[in-house]
């Protein structure tokens, strides 16, 4: 177990290292010196030079890479070129929206997908299975930004239950905040729920066909008992993998949805940073998101090994 953990940690660190090099190199090829871009064409050379020094652009590229990475290791993500504020603060500001939004969407998605997947698997071929599967086909085919627009037309413009966008801030109270995040979360949750329901169904069907379920039934358990005591737990592995992936995806992937609803989240931050050529913000936020994906995958893998004795045994 320790050896497995160590090996996984080394590969995690390596992935992050390579990712950081790629991100750094990719953005180095962008033409234009940020300092001269910021000051405009009429700037004095001395002013440009002074700004370059202030931004840490006057050192060699390897040195800049080193400064960037070593800074991130102690939580210093650098300073935004455009806003002149520490990036860690900007990220923290945006996280208070993106993180709850991702959690909210994931919660909705799980609440829909679990019952739907279980019903579809246990009543395979029935009308409810067919309609659930039909709905999930539709769910994965609908672009979430279009679904968001439809939601706005129905619930914000016609029914006026929700506002069409914006975020009042958590100071306005938890209820107001959650209300503002509801439409975006629904828009995000729909495709995720459809995928999750399909994975749940196919995984559960596989498990229900296993010998140990037949054994459980043979020793007298009802279908329902066999499902709850044996099948569900064994069917959870692929489901958990997808949930893990979806969470890290939702953190970053809300970019279009955040734009539609004017939510000042992480996705919007990075989108603005790209259009403003605020490359240091782009580099640091992308790195953070890559870290989130890798870390979540790692944690899910470790969780399996802890929960499932068979996996633990195989690893030794």
């Amino acid at each position: 177990m320790i050896r497995y953990l160590a090996r996984r940690l080394v590969s995690l660190a390596l992935t992050l290292l390579i990712a950081s090099v790629i991100i750094f190199l990719a953005l180095e090829v962008v033409p234009g010196d940020p300092a001269s871009v910021m000051l405009g064409v009429n700037a004095q050379p001395e002013t440009v030079q002074a700004l370059r020094e202030e931004l840490g652009l006057n050192v060699s590229k390897p040195m800049r890479y080193f400064n960037w990475v070593s800074g991130m290791l102690v939580g210093d993500f650098g300073t935004s070129y455009t806003y002149r504020t520490p990036i860690s603060e900007m990220i923290a500001d945006r996280m208070v929206i993106s993180f709850p939004l991702a959690l909210y969407a994931l919660l909705l998605s799980t609440l829909i997908a679990f019952p739907a997947g279980i019903i579809a698997a246990t009543k395979r071929g029935s009308l409810s299975d067919l309609s659930i599967m039909g709905m999930t086909q539709l769910g994965v085919a609908i672009p979430n930004f279009w679904f968001a627009m439809i939601l706005v037309i129905i619930f914000a413009i016609n029914l006026q239950w929700f506002s069409a966008g914006g975020f009042p801030g958590w100071e306005a109270g938890a209820f107001a905040g959650i209300k503002a995040l509801t439409l975006p979360a629904i828009a995000l949750a729909l495709p995720q729920a459809s995928i999750l329901a399909r994975v749940m169904r196919s995984s559960l069907l596989d498990t229900l066909g296993e010998d140990f379920i037949r054994t459980a039934r043979a020793k007298g358990l009802s279908a329902r008992q066999a499902l709850w005591r044996h099948a569900l737990r064994n069917a959870m592995i692929p489901v958990l993998t997808i949930i893990g992936l979806q969470f890290s995806f939702l953190l970053a992937g809300a970019i279009i949805i955040e734009n539609i609803f004017f939510l000042p989240g992480l996705g919007r931050l990075i989108f603005q940073a790209i259009t403003q050529r605020d490359l240091i913000v782009v580099e640091s936020v992308v790195m953070l998101l890559v870290f989130a994906v890798v870390a979540v995958t790692f944690l899910v893998d470790i969780a399996y090994a802890v929960v499932d004795p068979r996996l633990r045994h195989r690893l030794q």
Binding site: S11, V29, A141, P143, P191, P238, G253, I255, V286
Partner: protein
């Protein structure tokens, strides 16, 4: 019996939907009801009614004609992106499987993991922002994320084929690993690749719509479904038809491709229809599913 009909129904409905959009794209080269580049302000924002089947936009352009021309963009971008993924990914996967456990294999697999670790949409946006928005850069951005999907699928499926007796016979007969990969492994993977190709195709259509929606896909005057949605956004409170029809076009195309892919899978591999675990070391169906879920994140 119901099961049987249902599976065929997927294939047939999917194929029909795909055909409608492919036909629309092809016909649009020769004929559209109205010209999509001429502005006709006198007829702006007409509600859906004849002679404008889906209505007109704020410039008086016919939505129906624009959707026909937009189908071209969607299909072209997604098709080329899938081709990039296959042309690069499949040989990588074959090669990795033929040299299982070698350094090269390890490198390819870790490289795949690396690409999967990047949030796909963000990178696509970054690529198009850095190299300029446009259909070509959108294709590259989407294509890159198709590579690991095909590499991984090919490798996993090829690995299980390498265990088969007829491969052993081929090796005993003195064929090189390269030749076996090309002559025996690849032909046996074609079904799987076609199915996955269809799924990636549908994801490509969604991704193109998303990129165009944020203004990074095909540029004006080329009509594109995603951009039509973006342009409708300021007007949909009083002209919802501007948002509804392009959106429906995307949904129906993606739905058609997915149904077609599912139908093909069942057609190629009736075993899966009864949902038994396949004999392969890796349950291929599940693997393809997992990978396409990851690929999906580009949306």
């Amino acid at each position: 019996m119901i099961q049987f009909l249902r599976n065929r129904r997927n294939l047939i409905i999917g194929a029909l939907l795909c055909l409608v959009f492919i036909a629309a794209a092809i016909v649009s080269f020769f004929w559209t009801p109205y010209d999509v580049t001429t502005l006709d302000i006198a007829n702006k924002l007409k509600k859906p009614a004849l002679p404008y089947l889906f209505g007109t936009d704020h410039f008086g352009r016919d939505i129906f004609s624009m959707i026909m021309v937009g189908a071209r963009t969607s299909i072209a971008v997604a098709l080329v992106a899938v081709t990039i993924g296959m042309v690069v990914g499949v040989p990588l996967g074959l090669f990795a499987a033929a040299n299982r456990g070698a350094l090269f294999d390890e490198l390819i697999m870790r490289g795949n993991d690396l690409i999967f670790a990047f949030p796909a949409l963000l990178i696509a946006i970054m690529i198009t922002a850095v190299f300029g928005p446009g259909a070509l850069n959108a294709i590259i951005a989407i294509g890159i994320f198709n590579i690991p999907v095909f590499a991984r699928l090919t490798r996993a499926a090829a690995l299980s084929l390498w265990e088969r007796d007829y491969i052993l016979s081929a090796r005993v007969a003195g064929k090189s690993r390269l030749r076996i990969s090309a002559e025996h492994i690849l032909p046996n993977l074609l079904n799987l690749l076609i199915v996955q190709g269809t799924i990636q195709f549908s994801l490509g259509v969604l991704a193109e719509a998303g990129l165009s929606y944020v203004g990074l896909g095909a540029q004006p005057p080329t009509p594109s479904w995603g951009r039509m949605l973006a342009e409708s956004q300021t007007m949909f409170s009083f002209a919802p038809h501007l948002a509804i029809f392009p959106g429906l076009a995307i949904v129906l195309t993606v739905l058609g491709l997915n149904l077609f892919g599912d139908g093909l899978r069942d057609y190629f591999d009736p075993k899966l229809r009864h949902n038994r675990r396949s004999e392969a070391a890796v349950p291929l169906d599940e693997l393809a599913l997992l990978d396409s879920e990851k690929g999906r994140s580009i949306k």
